[in-house]
Assembly symmetry: C2
Homo-oligomer: 196 residues x 2
């Protein structure tokens, strides 16, 4: 059973963010917040699985897996679980995809030091909690995939149009924290669901 | 640059453990400690990179990536770094590969709870520290690769022949800890370097 690469199943937690001329989401913003620009595209689809090779007309694809929690405490998780909503609410017509790369200094830190920066100093979970349940969120990890990805994380958010301003507040608050001193590449993608 | 899967570079931290009829290491033991048996093979090579498709004669391949630290504290890392040796010492003619899968209950825990089991209760780092620098170690993570792997971790150890008994003591001590209640599949592979 192990003798052919082609027969190995794709990680069921893998998601592909596939941009091109087609897709359920219209890309309304694509600009770097830190670092180099990212190639433009008109539309995007989010696929649970791998897409390989990319279809004709694809502009780019980035991939990540959902995984076990990394920096949330037991108590925080209980609080988050009580407030959070799932992605894909019919009224959540707006979305954001924020691919991020952290620098080598971050990755060389031990987990206690990373957790201290993440929450004790930067209040990452606490800031996010303020925007629940309006902003739904799913984090994807890219760094330990088999293939080298350009980013370390891809976070997907969705929300109603009326919460778009609150979402930008959340992003701005996180970017003022000490944690963000370790971010060396970050792209702002904003999307609107195609209702056609 | 992102338009072809085939042009994406392999993760530079990816290692393939390739077993078959050829290889630098002779497999002397292959038996399950917990769970189902693993296919037998005569020899094994450890390759920094991907091997795809597998060569003719290959028995199996398992893969993992080295990654950032997950449960070691800053203080413990400093102590470990002062004592540990690197893999590949010429005199380290003996090796062990221990693929492990942990159960869903482990992965659903928050990191503070996992850390408490790992070190406060199970003293995983403390136990490992006693066997430094004789036993060199490298941990590979498999769970967040693009393709579904059979195990969550592959740990590779190497040591001199005279330390083989101490190594088995180390493994036995870890298996008596609370952490091991979360292990649901574990294979013992022992290897001797082919001096021919």
């Amino acid at each position: 059973m192990m003798s052919e690469q082609s027969t190995m199943p794709v990680n069921p937690r893998l998601y592909t963010f596939l941009a091109g001329q087609t897709g359920k989401w219209v890309i309304t913003v694509n600009k770097p917040y830190i670092g180099a620009a990212w190639p433009s595209a008109q539309r995007l689809d989010i696929i649970n699985g791998d897409v390989s090779p990319l279809p004709t007309g694809a502009a780019w694809a980035i991939k990540g897996v959902t995984s076990n929690d990394r920096y949330v405490s037991h108590e925080e998780k209980t609080q988050l679980a009580a407030k959070q909503s799932a992605l894909g609410r019919p009224e959540a017509t707006h979305a954001a995809i924020i691919p991020i790369r952290k620098n080598a200094k971050w990755w060389a830190l031990t987990p206690d030091d990373r957790r201290a920066i993440f929450e004790q100093q930067s209040r990452h979970n606490t800031i996010g909690m303020k925007y629940l349940p309006a902003i739904a969120r799913r984090l994807h990890h890219c760094r330990d995939l088999s293939v080298q990805e350009p980013f370390d994380f891809i976070t997907l958010f969705d929300y109603e149009k009326k919460d778009a301003e609150a979402f930008e507040e959340l992003v701005a608050a996180l970017r003022e924290t000490e944690e963000w001193e370790y971010v060396d590449w970050e792209i702002d993608l904003r999307l609107v669901r195609d209702s056609a």
